[in-house]
């Protein structure tokens, strides 16, 4: 069984059953179950999530991208600073970047004020952080390969002969 293919398939759709995956990959259900468990244990598979369009709900959510400039401290480097930032539960993602700034921090909050306060009170005050620049997301068009608000594709195919 091609295990990379297994991972690729469940990365697209984690709700397929072990029996279905076994059928697709030419193996047994047990083999799939064992392998997935192994991937979970060795942290190749880190979790299973759902992509939600919160705009369709009553829940208010604000997403911001924050460019962070960092002065790396002796013996700490970027990794320690990143760790101090990603520990905050509000922080969704942290990336080390090339270019004009060092860390890209994605955060989600209930309101713009909440996000602004987080930046002002928790992020900007860190010793290693020399500057921040916050960009609020106005609308999500596509996330993780999924287009939001896309017209549901109905099957428009017609039999020809």
């Amino acid at each position: 069984m091609d295990y990379d293919k297994l991972l690729w398939i469940i990365e697209q759709d984690s709700r397929l059953s072990a029996a279905q995956l076994a059928g697709m990959l030419g193996g047994t259900k047990e083999e799939v179950e064992t392998k997935i468990k192994e991937f979970e244990e060795n942290k190749t598979i880190l979790g299973y999530k759902t992509i939600v369009d919160w705009d369709k709900t009553d829940r208010e959510i604000v997403t911001a991208l924050i460019e962070v400039k960092v002065v790396p401290q002796r013996g700490e480097g970027f990794d320690r600073v990143a760790a101090r930032i990603y520990q905050f539960p509000e922080v969704d993602s942290v990336y080390l970047m090339s270019g004009g700034f060092d860390l890209m921090v994605l955060i989600e909050g209930k309101t713009m004020k909440e996000v602004a306060l987080f930046v002002a009170q928790k992020l900007a005050v860190l010793d290693s952080v020399s500057a921040t620049s916050t960009h609020f997301v106005l609308k999500k068009y596509k996330d993780k390969g999924v287009v939001f608000d896309e017209e549901k594709m109905e099957d428009k195919r017609t039999p020809m002969v």
Binding site: L16, Q20, G23, M24, D155, M160
Partner: protein, 387 residues
């Protein structure tokens, strides 16, 4: 005007396609899950659509030369060499309105009244009617599940008479999913050379073969290039059915008469589709791979499920169809499809719609999402439990 009494008797005699019958019923019902359609479920990749849009923006709204844009003919020649190791000059490429037109041209340019055309069955439904329209005689050559639905050389020899002019070679096959590898084609090729037959090789599913072996064209075998007309197109490989771009590859002496018919009947394929096709052919290999991979996992899943529920499936190696054997149910193909549709609202196509030798089988397309296939499989299983 009494048109009815004046209909060409050949046209009047054309039977409605057996593929259509169940769709027409299914359309009147709600909540039907279909495995019926033989068309990719993917939308044409964006870069190809974009090339079509761009060609319109630039004002490309005219006719093109009859045999197609020179850039496209060159691109097709390069593509066939890159993908299938076939060597054709751009002058040996004729761009058509879908593979269907190429089939029509290949038959009409050569068949005269009384000529026999051997058609392996089960197969796509268009060859017979076109042969009849040209005054020719279609001769069915049944392929059998015990031969993995490949052409059996002994049966082929027996079907040849002095009137035989053309052999159709429709592989990878719709509806069975059968392929003919090089070793299976060798004997067939020898017979074609010995009887000096024209071969029309319908390779529209040539990009959709599974496992490690690529599709092999019969034209690549000794003595075959000079007598083979390859029919192909972008509909299945690049999910471009609606663009209507197909082509024929053949020696110039075969392309010339086909182009004559094409010139009067069609003139040329739509220009914006031809520009989109250039983009598809030059930059679309990754799209082919992505779609083939997706079809492959559906193929594995659906074959596995059907086998487990007791409908034996010969392993399809190409196209996007499985052809399960339903004889254990005691029902005819027609009855099976009808009962399945009424009882569980699943639409599949009876095997005999593709020729008498398809009786005892049904065609399931896996050009459908995994979710759709999963629901269909659950319903078919429930249907079998009630028999």
């Amino acid at each position: 005007m009494d048109f009815t009494s004046r209909i060409n008797p050949v046209v009047a005699g054309m039977k409605p396609s057996g593929i259509r019958r169940f769709f027409d019923i299914a359309f009147t019902m709600e909540n039907v899950v279909s495995l019926g359609i033989g068309e990719p479920d993917f939308v044409t990749p964006w870069h190809i659509r974009d090339a079509g849009i761009y060609s319109l923006e630039k004002g490309n709204t005219m006719y093109t030369p009859n045999p197609g844009l020179p850039e496209l003919r060159k691109a097709i020649a390069r593509y066939q060499q890159r993908r299938f190791d076939l060597h054709y000059d751009p002058e040996e490429v004729l761009v058509t309105v879908g593979g269907s037109e190429a089939i029509d041209l290949a038959i009409r340019a050569f068949v005269t009244p009384g000529d026999e055309v051997i058609i392996p069955e089960p197969c796509f439904v268009c060859y017979g009617p076109i042969v009849r329209l040209a005054g020719g005689v279609p001769v069915a050559l049944p392929t059998m599940s015990e031969d993995s639905f490949r052409i059996n050389p002994t049966r082929l020899k027996a079907a040849i008479t002095e009137k035989t002019k053309i052999l159709i070679v429709p592989f990878p096959n719709n509806p069975t999913g059968a392929v003919m590898r090089k070793e299976h084609l060798e004997e067939v090729a020898k017979i074609c050379v010995a009887h000096d037959l024209i071969v029309v090789s319908d390779e529209i599913y040539g990009e959709l073969t599974f496992g490690n072996q690529r599709h092999v064209s019969i034209s690549s075998l000794p003595g075959m290039r000079e007598r083979t007309i390859i029919v192909s197109g972008l509909s299945k490989s690049h999910a471009m059915t609606g663009w209507r771009i197909g082509y024929a590859l053949a020696p110039k002496e075969a392309i010339a008469p086909m182009n004559k018919v094409h010139q009067y009947a069609i003139m040329c394929a739509p220009i914006m589709s031809q520009y989109a096709a250039i983009e598809a052919i030059e930059n679309g290999d990754d799209d082919i791979a992505m779609m083939a991979e997706e079809y492959d996992r559906r193929r594995m899943m659906i074959t596995d499920e059907l086998n487990r529920m007791g409908l034996p499936c010969f392993e399809p190696e190409g196209a996007f169809y499985v052809f399960p054997d339903i004889r254990s149910t005691g029902l005819s193909s027609e009855k099976f499809c009808e009962s399945l549709l009424y009882a569980e609202r699943v639409a599949v196509v009876p095997g005999d719609a593709f020729g008498a030798s398809g009786e005892g089988f049904v065609r399931c397309s896996y050009a459908y999402s995994v979710q759709n296939i999963t629901i269909a499989m659950e319903r078919i299983k429930r249907f079998l439990d009630t028999l």
